[in-house]
């Protein structure tokens, strides 16, 4: 197992290097520089800015310079925010994004597994159709529709919850977490229903029932352990998606997370900020996929065999 993790981590190095090269080349190829403004920037000012941020150097020199700082953990200064380093922006925004992502994931798992399992136990009854209808709607309803809808109902009409903000007013974390989590809740519900249905019809469940084991033990200890494997393998990409895809929710609810910088860094041609956030999210995707694989191996003996010896 240790060898497997080490191998995967070593593989990550060329992947991250490639990601940074491609990102670097793409942003430098994009028209318009970081200092272009609607009001013309006087040429002498532009010259000083380019010198200060080393943009007057050849691209390979800039890249080498960037990478040699990045490996030491220094992601450079932001171009748009002269007083902020990319490290500082990430340090401020990432914990918020992570917190939001975790709440959203928690919501997705609670609602998703709950309704998925409930549906699988009563297939083709209202207890199946109702949650699955919601799941289908949930998958179809993007955050920019669901978010404002929730705000209108709970924020403005019922006046139960704040309409926007993060740690400004008690309760303001609830709506963004639900909005971000709901699409994933829908996926989790469908995955767990499918997994459970398949498992419940397998021989070992029939054997357990024949032995007279209590139904609750059969479901929780035996069926769910196998039936929820698809959910576990979905967790890695889901958490990565929750973290890097929170831009829309952050904008709707005025959440000071990293998603906004990730997207706007590209619009602003803030080279270092795009590179820094891209590298961060790339690393996270690698790590989360690895964690999901390790968890899968721990839960499923079949996969464990392949991972260790394959």
């Amino acid at each position: 197992m240790f060898k497997f993790i080490l191998k995967r981590l070593l593989q990550a190095i060329p992947v991250l290097l490639l990601v940074s090269i491609i990102t670097f080349l793409l942003i430098h190829a994009a028209p318009g520089g970081p200092f272009a403004e609607e009001k013309a920037v006087p040429p002498e000012v532009l010259k000083h800015l380019n010198e200060r941020y080393k943009l007057d150097q050849p691209v390979h020199v800039q890249f080498y310079d960037y990478i040699s700082h990045a490996v030491r953990g220094d992601l450079g200064p932001s171009f748009k925010y002269p007083g902020r380093s990319v490290n500082e922006i990430i340090a401020a925004g990432f914990p918020v994004t992570l917190e939001l992502g975790c709440y959203a994931l928690l919501f997705a798992l609670l609602i998703g597994i709950g309704s998925g399992v409930c549906a699988s136990l009563n297939p083709n009854t209202w207890q199946d159709y109702l949650p699955m209808t919601f799941a289908t709607i949930g998958i179809c309803l993007p955050a920019y529709v669901l978010g404002p809808l929730l705000v209108l109902v709970f924020g403005i009409w019922l006046e139960w919850l704040p309409v926007a903000g993060w740690e400004l007013i008690p309760g303001d974390k609830i709506l963004p977490s639900i909005t971000l989590g709901s699409v994933y809740a829908a996926y989790v519900a469908r995955l767990s229903r499918g997994g459970m249905l398949e498992t419940l019809s397998r021989d070992f469940i029939r054997t357990a029932r024949a032995k007279g084991m209590p139904e609750a033990v059969i479901i929780v200890r035996h069926a769910m352990r196998v039936g929820l494997l698809p959910v576990v393998s979905f967790l890695g990409p889901a958490l990565a998606g929750l973290l890097s895809g929170s831009f829309v929710v952050e904008t709707i609810f005025q959440v000071p997370g990293l998603g906004r910088y990730f997207v706007q860094g590209a619009f602003n041609r803030d080279y270092t900020l795009i590179l820094g956030t891209t590298l961060l999210f790339a690393s996270l995707i690698i790590v989360f996929n690895l964690i999901a694989d390790v968890m899968l191996a721990w839960l499923d003996p079949k996969v464990r065999q392949e991972t260790v010896h394959g």
């Binding site: 994009a30 028209p31 318009g32 520089g33 272009a36 403004e37 609607e38 009001k39 013309a40 920037v41 006087p42 040429p43 002498e44 000012v45 000083h48 800015l49 200060r52 748009k80 925010y81 002269p82 007083g83 902020r84 500082e88 922006i89 401020a92 925004g93 609670l110 709950g114 309704s115 399992v117 409930c118 136990l121 009563n122 207890q127 705000v151 709970f154 924020g155 403005i156 006046e159 139960w160 919850l161 704040p162 309409v163 926007a164 903000g165 400004l168 007013i169 008690p170 309760g171 609830i174 904008t251 709707i252 609810f253 005025q254 000071p256 997370g257 906004r260 619009f267 602003n268 041609r269």
Partner: protein, 565 residues
């Protein structure tokens, strides 16, 4: 059924949790009004709080709370009032100003504000390595341009001197009638030398001097808290010379970019004042809460650029035909909907007493005739046009309307191209376009801020248009003191601009905000500058008789001052 019951239990628990968290909380507006804390939307996260590094509206509003120039705007924006300087004199030839600073003006750490602070700050604003985008605002001072360009390095040759602690003498290149207005701009704000230099060299960008705990300013408020992307809190500066006028205890600025989110926050009582207002909601507010909706003419023009270096737009008659064939009234009534004013000249109407006499017309017959004279009768043989705008739903709707108008009225085919902001800027700058959307906000209340953009040498002239007489008129206006004669020169220049039409004016913007009825002292203002020191909060239940400015809102010496503008 175990699971059914469990689900029910989870849902009711969640409901109780939600209800207990949020039920009936006191809104920001309620608690803010009670405690004198103003909650205001500020559009975006500021890039910096250093007045010599930043350029935008977001930053200038924050600097307005934290710093103060020699003079400031009256809250109605029509005239200037003394600020850090209590009075000033102008020499006979209008080229030298002598400012007298207040004895009681202090920095937020208690240090006195001296003339030397201004000399230091203006020198800093001009240091080439600082990369100040607005350094050109100081070019009206003798030798400032040469110092900034690095042609001279000895700052004593620049026309800024401090004969004593409380006197500042400024010599100008030319008599500049709007010079006092420039002093309200953040590039002329002072910074505290010891603070700036405690965190880096004078010309170092982005040092930590602007952080809470470090920041020292001379404005009515001081920086208390700055959480990236969440909020900026400023609190009353007890060392401010006019602290008696300042009613607010704190201001909380929120970097809300999305106008729809901002409107919802306003509706839920989380904000006293918004920075913007979604167009779709204007009709609703007009009907339901007209008192909260604040829409005022704004010193800014929405217009299109013509690239005059390539056919067919190198022909004046084509540009005239295009300009005459759009129905501006329709655009402001049906698309922008906030009461924008159709623009028939480039400078907005009543620019400090100047209204352009030369106006473009909406005249379809003449437009068709001009197009025929240019060689394209009824649009036949016209090569087609590409209209470029930066990504925005508002710009797209206007572009579609104009595309339709040109098709119907002139039988000209127009393709629309939507570009990401930086690509758009790049193409504009490289004249890689035919027709492009543009907007311009005046820096100071004078026709010059609009008209000097289209001189041949201006960095903002992206049309390739060049007219020697126009350049000469603008230069002559720059060297003229007499306001009537200046305005006459500007009239001549603008009539050239409105005949040659390298640009096509569309409408004059309005500023749109939602303002809680608790807010007092927030007044109509063409520059959309609302000095925070005059704003106060009163629960709207016990309303005052009038929201208008009364004489006692301003301190006595504001009114007695030498009003030189």
């Amino acid at each position: 059924m175990i699971t059914g019951n469990a689900l029910k239990a989870v849902l009711s628990a969640a409901f109780l949790f939600i209800a207990s968290c949020g039920f009936n909380y006191e809104t920001n507006v309620e608690s803010g009004t009670r405690q004198g804390i103003l909650h205001i939307g500020n559009g975006d996260e500021p890039r910096e709080l250093d007045p010599h590094v930043v350029t935008g509206r977001i930053e200038s509003d924050l600097c307005l709370a934290l710093l103060e120039g020699l003079v400031g705007w009256h809250p109605e924006g029509k005239r200037l009032i003394p600020a850090a300087a209590k009075s000033w004199e102008q020499s006979e030839d209008a080229r030298t100003y002598r400012f007298h600073l207040r004895e009681d003006a202090k920095w937020s750490n208690g240090d006195p504000v001296t003339a030397a602070d201004f000399v230091y700050s203006w020198r800093r604003a001009l240091l080439p390595a600082l990369g100040n985008n607005y350094a050109y605002m100081l070019y009206y001072i003798r030798n400032a341009e040469r110092f900034h360009q690095g042609e001279i390095t000895d700052f004593s040759q620049v026309g800024i001197t401090a004969p004593d602690d409380l006197t500042l003498v400024v010599e100008l290149e030319n008599p500049t009638p709007f010079f006092l207005q420039l002093l309200t701009h953040m590039s002329y704000y002072p910074v505290h030398q010891a603070t700036v230099e405690a965190f880096g060299a004078a010309d170092e960008r982005g040092t930590r001097w602007t952080r809470p705990g470090n920041h020292v300013g001379n404005g009515p408020f001081k920086l208390k808290e700055w959480v990236l992307n969440r909020s900026i809190v400023v609190e009353k500066n007890e060392h401010y010379w006019d602290a008696g006028t300042v009613k607010l205890n704190q201001i909380v600025f929120y970097p809300i970019q999305n106008a729809t989110t901002e409107e919802r926050m306003f509706r839920a009582g989380q904000l006293h004042i918004t920075n913007n207002m979604p167009v779709d909601k204007i009709a609703h507010y007009r009907q339901e809460r007209p008192g909260a909706l604040k829409i005022f003419p704004f010193f800014s023009t929405y217009y299109y650029l013509f690239n005059t270096t390539a056919t067919p737009l190198d022909q004046v008659k084509v540009r005239q035909a295009l300009t005459m064939s759009i129905d501006r009234q329709q655009i402001v009534d049906k698309i922008t909907k906030a009461g924008e004013i159709p623009a028939f000249s480039y400078t907005p109407p009543d620019t400090n007493g100047y209204t352009a006499t030369a106006q473009v017309r909406y005249d379809l017959e003449r437009a068709r005739a001009l197009l025929a004279e240019a060689g394209y009768p009824d649009g036949t043989g016209f090569p087609g046009l590409e209209l470029m705008y930066n990504t925005s739903e508002g710009h797209r709707r206007i572009a579609i309307a104009i595309q339709q108008m040109w098709k119907t009225n002139l039988n000209i085919d127009v393709t629309l191209t939507n570009q990401d902001w930086k690509v758009y800027l790049d193409k504009r700058d490289g004249k890689d376009y035919q027709v492009a959307r543009a907007g311009w906000i005046g820096d100071y209340l004078d026709p010059n801020t609009f008209l000097d953009m289209y001189t041949t040498s201006s960095g903002n002239n992206d049309t390739g248009w060049s007219h020697r007489r126009y350049d000469a008129l603008i230069a002559r206006a720059g060297a003229t003191t007499d306001q009537d004669r200046r305005f006459a020169l500007f009239q001549d220049a603008e009539s050239i601009l409105m005949t040659e039409l390298p640009i096509m004016p569309i409408y004059t913007y309005v500023s749109k905000s939602l303002v809680s009825p608790d807010v007092r002292g927030w007044r109509p203002n063409i520059l959309d500058i609302h000095p925070f020191k005059y704003i106060s909060l009163v629960p709207s239940a016990d309303e005052l008789s009038a929201d208008d400015l009364s004489a006692d809102d301003l301190s006595a010496d504001d009114l007695s001052a030498d009003d030189a503008d």
